[in-house]
Symmetry: C2
Subunit: 438 residues, 2 copies
């Protein structure tokens, strides 16, 4: 099975755990059988591999997510990196070209596309396999998954099939309706459109060449920023006549809001949290290292991270976005290709952060124009290079770097530093990278 | 007016703003006319000075509160320091001896005793003055304030006066009753006992000599830890026949729980907080530097500090104590005589804190057995002394101190340091103080 997972953008609706640089699919919130926690993307990846250990999985995503994907899934996963966001048609065209030109997938093989964030069981991935097999038969150019509705939702588009058969031609598509219209659709046998479909590779590659002037993957990649934003639904699906839908009646949840996300939690709390016995249907996800105490609350979600603290009635939590948009703040923590950092203290002319480098990793060799930096090693060992001078470092060592000085650090073991940045104009843009000969 | 303010112990019921070392009376929660915030102790002190600018104010408290009191009220306030907690009779005896022997208050002058934490208006302090004047007349040995009840509370003891006059002899005292009994008391003209009373200095000093073998203030202070714990009510009030009560019908609130405390807040939020319009009767007190977003909540108090996060139904918030008792954690911030500190990061073998020294202040000259320390100056200037060597420091300077090395820092301006502690057994007890010749 060739599968393209679409890994979307920023998820403010799950603030403060997700933010502009940390999307919801990377939040480790799902308890596995061994008691650890995994993210949406880890769960989906594990489930696909369980159903088809040979599956070629390619994640179509933006540059900003690459570090998180490698950190969470390892280095073997295929990633089709969108140089910038250009909606789903360019993204799927690029991923398809990637499969063809980089992974060597042949024209007649099926490709299955699905979002990275549905909360589903193994039967869903069996259904994806069946979807791909149906596409390979060639009865239709596109085979969509039609999810049997469990309620008249206003959140999804609907597919009206021509028959009630497991596989049917598509009669028509309907935009997101109001509840009453949704009820009428459902009485007509309509299915939810979850954005899941399969095609023979050549079909989408041909469509891409029809609509975009490019030679191969590398060419498409290089001109990606010039492409017009257009959705795959609009560019392809709605114009295609040879199109089928395959029913899926298993569990399918879209965990896009705190309200729905908390339904998928095994325990009511993650992290340091205490509830008194008068709390009912309360969920606490605490990513801070201080305790949360909840008393006498009903139907409330509490989520705390270094970015902020949300306390919301669950129903209301789906209206979070405009409020989070107003909270325009410094990013307080981030995953990087080499590890992660967390902001500990912000003052007018200083910023103190805690840096954790994974074993064997290092930062870019870089300098800052407008700030001095001090590193204090608090755990692990490694090496620094400061203006070309290499030095071994271990716990208690202090490294001072004036503005302009080139520096990096290599982690031999996991290495933790307290970094104090000092200057009058501290910002993340102030960084020049340099090659490093070692 | 000679007034003794009893400043009580730890206030877990206002966790996470109060804790074992920060009592509720020091939380800056009351908005003043100029838009700043003051604490209970600052508010009461200001109110007394407004009514009687010559008032001799003595705060009876434990050692742990002395730094906070000086930070909030300045160095002029009198403090009668209890070397350890021995309940109210020894505390009042000690404070009375302090007034007599240290401040030179004469035997016949009145002393008014009241808790430091009632939420009252200026008329209350006028009433305290009247209480003292009544005590000086000598008609009774003790004159109590009787607060006119506004509801049949189970939280207070009751005073039954002999008459409905403004000043009356006391008929009897009643322990905290249940609501039905409280209603009956009130129908009999009972008044709340708020623990406020006045006496001629000699009266309590004589009682103290009767019950305790001591010569003067210094002697009493030195043997304080040998005294029996006994309340002033039990030792004195309940045994006294020449006792009067004076009515007080003004505002008097006991802000001991989040429920009552939030009633005294002018604005619904303090600190970085956003509420959506569907929140009703929600109060947010956010002492962290990350935002709190509240949505769709009713009658809820949210309080966040470096010690933790409370989210509670207001009614339920009065049952907080047993839950906080279970949260046994490191103190994450504290006021000190020289300024304050805040814990930024805790790892197994390191602790990173931010230290703020007030201008003109310094730490004790001290050393640690089991930890190295690194200071990075992030603002201000001053001097360090490390093993006798004096050195000027300013922003960006780094000072490293091995275990065993003696060190201190003097703040010329306000001075902020990031302090990284490194070692396998980091704890607050690991500290030896030394005299410093400068």
């Amino acid at each position: 099975m060739n599968i393209v997972l679409l890994s979307g953008g920023s998820g403010k609706r799950l603030w403060p755990l997700s933010n502009d640089i940390r999307s919801k699919q990377f939040i480790k919130i799902f308890k596995t059988e061994d008691g650890k926690y995994e993210s949406m993307v880890q769960r989906v990846y594990r489930q696909i591999k369980k159903v088809d250990s040979d599956a070629k999985i390619t994640i179509a995503t933006s540059k900003t997510q690459v570090s998180s994907i490698h950190n969470q899934l390892g280095d073997d996963v295929g990633i089709s990196i969108e140089p910038c966001r250009r909606d789903t048609f360019p993204a799927i065209a690029l991923a398809t070209a990637y499969l063809h030109d980089i992974l060597g997938v042949s024209d007649d093989e099926a490709v299955v596309v699905c979002p990275v964030d549905p909360y589903v069981e193994d039967d869903y991935f069996e259904a994806l396999k069946a979807l791909g097999e149906q596409a390979e038969k060639g009865q239709a150019n596109l085979v969509l998954m039609g999810i049997e509705p469990t309620y008249p939702s206003e959140k999804y588009g609907y597919i009206i099939p021509e028959s009630k058969d497991n596989i049917s031609s598509v009669s028509t598509f309907k935009e997101k309706p109001d509840t009453e219209t949704a009820k009428r659709y459902i009485s007509q046998g309509a299915l939810w459109n979850g954005g899941v479909f399969a095609y023979k590779l050549k079909y989408v590659l041909d469509k891409a060449h029809e609509l975009i002037d490019f030679t191969d993957y590398h060419d498409l990649f290089s001109k990606y920023d010039t492409l017009t934003k257009i959705s795959f639904d609009y560019a392809v699906v709605e114009k295609e006549n040879k199109i089928q839908v395959m029913r899926f009646s298993g569990q399918w949840k879209d965990l896009g809001t705190w309200n729905t996300l908390t339904e998928a939690m095994v325990d009511n709390t993650i992290g340091d949290a205490v509830m008194n016995e008068s709390c009912k249907d309360v969920h606490i996800i605490n990513d801070l290292d201080i305790p949360v105490l909840a008393m006498g609350l009903h139907d409330v979600v509490i989520s705390a991270s270094p970015d902020g603290i949300l306390v919301s009635d669950k129903e209301q939590s789906s209206y979070i976005k405009p409020y989070v948009d107003k909270i325009d703040r410094q990013i307080m923590f981030a995953e990087k290709s080499w590890g992660c950092f967390r902001v500990l203290d912000v003052e007018e002319n200083s910023l103190t952060i805690k840096v954790t480098l994974n074993p064997g990793n290092s930062m870019n060799y870089h300098s800052h124009k407008n700030r001095d930096e001090v590193w204090v090693v608090i755990s692990g060992k490694g090496k620094t290079v400061v203006d070309g001078m290499e030095q071994e470092i271990t716990v208690g060592d202090v490294v001072t770097m004036q503005a302009g000085c080139r520096h990096t650090v290599f982690a031999e073991t996991e290495l933790q530093l307290i970094e104090v940045q000092l200057g009058e104009d501290i910002n993340v843009q102030d960084k020049q990278k340099f090659p490093l000969d070692r």
